[in-house]
């Protein structure tokens, strides 16, 4: 008996008929409002996109020990992400095979098995059914694999970032990530030992479609307007020394920052070239944060010349690395988009801290993290809140049914503005919407593909 069970056609098909004209809905320069408002398209995305391609699930630092688990979702599927007794990462469906009850209702914990609270079926964290109460009441063999928990058939981790896919034909994760993996490497390798640990989060819910957040993830055009209150606040004492994202204020396209599309819906916005290339170059751009003057003076007295490279570890890394469909590394955050419904989404901004690899010492790491927590709280509090207000108002605007299109053509058709590089990546100025046009090509491809999707059960 095969342990794989194939998944059927998405609801955007009826029998042999494709119900949606995808080429019409997503055109080169514009997208139709329905892709953000239609519940059937959303239902199809929950299989074709969330699970149809490698989708971020969790960070390994959230389940560091054997038998640790956290509960998450893949699209709308409730999952238990567990590190089993052998250390293997599992993405188990949090759904009893008997009556469909969720097995685990806690956000996190440590357990080698999960007992259903309804009728007591008990499962190992490998997904295998360990036993049921009074088994002599069943005529058949309860060791049939169909009673083992469903699980995501492919789970892989890239340097701590755990992804899962239902797509048996997906490339290995590292090949799927392609050039964006190098940028993730750079993001990690600026930290001691190349490691970070997740440490709680700023958690937002908003009444708008998840794609509005992903569309925003590489958007350099909105900053001066959507974040005007933030830019004014973080520069209220700055004088000539513009702080934070002030480089967006005037002619942002003349700055050395840029966006790059790297394929498969992934892209990044690189603001690092705007910085002075020296220890403290990042720190010099930081706006006011609790404790910054104390720790800066203290670090200089304790570490001398080395102080500014340490302070840079508390600085907000100026890059947005977006892995389609639901992951965005920005500053020091791991932001994750969680669809709730066609018009509701969570954006979870997981904080990260550094760990001591022996190169700094426990006190130094403690103090860098004390500062790093405060720098990370700035943008969610003073920036993200305004973006989310705008996402919600887009969703409202899209209720105007006969005004059908939203545009994404900034930069399109201007000679020499958008460049395709030798490696196939695409580079454009920071305010261009080229990244959006490209990730929608991937979205459209995934929505149309009859992918080889399956769930797996332990044999």
């Amino acid at each position: 008996m095969t342990a794989l069970e194939k998944i059927g056609a998405p609801p955007t098909r009826l029998g042999g008929t494709v119900l949606y004209d995808w080429e019409y809905l997503v055109q080169e320069d514009r997208a139709h409002r329905l892709i953000y408002t239609d519940p059937v398209i959303f239902a199809a995305e929950m299989t074709q996109i969330f699970g149809g391609t490698w989708t971020y699930l969790a960070h390994e630092s959230e389940i560091p020990n054997i038998n640790d688990f956290i509960t998450r979702r893949l699209g709308l599927r409730p999952l238990i992400i567990a590190r089993d007794a052998e250390g293997k990462l599992r993405a188990l469906y949090n759904r009893c095979t008997h009556r469909g009850t969720t097995l685990c209702r806690f956000d996190k914990g440590n357990s080698k098995s999960f007992q259903c609270p309804y009728h007591g079926w008990n499962f190992l964290n490998t997904g295998q059914l360990r036993g049921v109460p009074w088994p002599d009441g069943y005529a058949g063999d309860m060791r049939d694999p169909k009673y083992n928990l469903a699980q995501v058939p492919r789970v892989e981790s890239y340097r701590g970032f755990i992804f899962g896919t239902l797509n048996l034909d997906s490339l290995p994760l590292i090949e799927h990530l392609g050039p964006i993996a190098t940028v993730i490497d750079e993001w990690l390798d600026r930290n001691p030992g190349g490691r970070i640990v997740v440490c709680e989060a700023n958690r937002f819910r908003f009444k708008a479609n998840w794609k509005l957040a992903y569309d925003n993830s590489c958007d350099g055009y909105h900053v001066a307007y959507s974040h005007r209150s933030l830019l004014e606040t973080e520069n209220r004492f700055a004088g000539e020394n513009a702080k934070g994202m002030a480089y967006y204020r005037n002619s942002p396209d003349t700055q050395p920052m840029y966006m790059r599309y790297t394929g498969r819906g992934n892209h990044y916005k690189d603001k690092r070239p705007n910085l002075e290339k020296r220890p403290g170059g990042l720190w010099a751009l930081e706006s006011a944060h609790p404790g910054m003057e104390h720790y800066e003076a203290d670090f200089i007295s304790r570490y001398g010349d080395r102080a500014f490279s340490l302070l840079d570890l508390a600085g907000s890394e100026p890059v947005n690395i977006n892995v389609f469909p639901n992951l965005s590394l920005l500053g020091n955050h791991i932001q994750v988009f969680e669809p709730v419904s066609v018009e509701e989404t969570n954006a979870i901004w997981y904080g990260t801290m550094i760990v001591d690899d022996g190169s700094i010492g426990a006190d130094g790491v403690r103090d860098i993290n004390a500062l790093r927590m405060r720098t990370q709280e700035g943008f969610p509090n003073f920036g993200e809140v305004d973006d989310i207000a705008n996402f919600e108002q887009i969703q409202r605007g899209l209720m105007a049914i006969e005004d059908e299109w939203v545009y994404m053509h900034r930069g399109l058709g201007i000679p020499d503005r958008v460049k395709t590089n030798a490696d196939g990546t695409i580079t454009a100025p920071a305010t261009d919407e080229a990244f959006m046009r490209e990730h929608f090509k991937e979205w459209k491809r995934l929505m149309q593909t009859r992918a080889n999707l399956a769930i797996r059960r332990e044999p």
């Binding site: 958690r203 606040t233 944060h289 003057e293 104390h294 979870i348 927590m373």
Partner: protein, 197 residues
Amino acid sequence: MNAPNPPDPSRSSYYVNDLLYRELIADFTDWQDDTRAVNDTAVRDEFRRLVEREARLLDQLRYDDWLAMYAAECVYWVPSTPYAGDPRREIAVMFDDRRRLEDRIYRLRTGFAWSQAPQSRTVRLVTNVEVFAAVRDDARMLRSNFAISEFWDKETRTLTGWAGHRVVRSGCGWKITAKQVNLLECDQAIRNLSIIL
């Protein structure tokens, strides 16, 4: 030679240091202890009036008057976990010093804070005010429960939880040196949390 002026906590942040964090964690750990309860009704009434006044000033958006209830060196802390934890190694929903509190108010007043355009209307209920002795003789710890009804974007929702205030004697009154706001949903995704709690 004159002594240097003490740094202005509205312009720089020297007081947020490891000692502050350690004292904060100590003061906000295991403090709601019956053996430390202050039961004198006049004292309890004085502090009940303090938290009621704070609620009213925030409902009325009288931010300057509200800030004046706080010590120059103060902390406003909204933990992201129900057990609060160590803010040196956990992201908080909010962790503001004096300057960031003033940033928060400045932002709301720019006219470009879209999450507060139009601004929320709030009415706060504060109840169950209890007073406890603090580590320092001249300080007290207050516990109160709150329910904030917030009208925004055509809807009214309720944010509930409890607050811990650390107050110190200042002249003939008290100043708030730390406020810990424990939202019931602190570790969950919350829609547009952009008012001051």
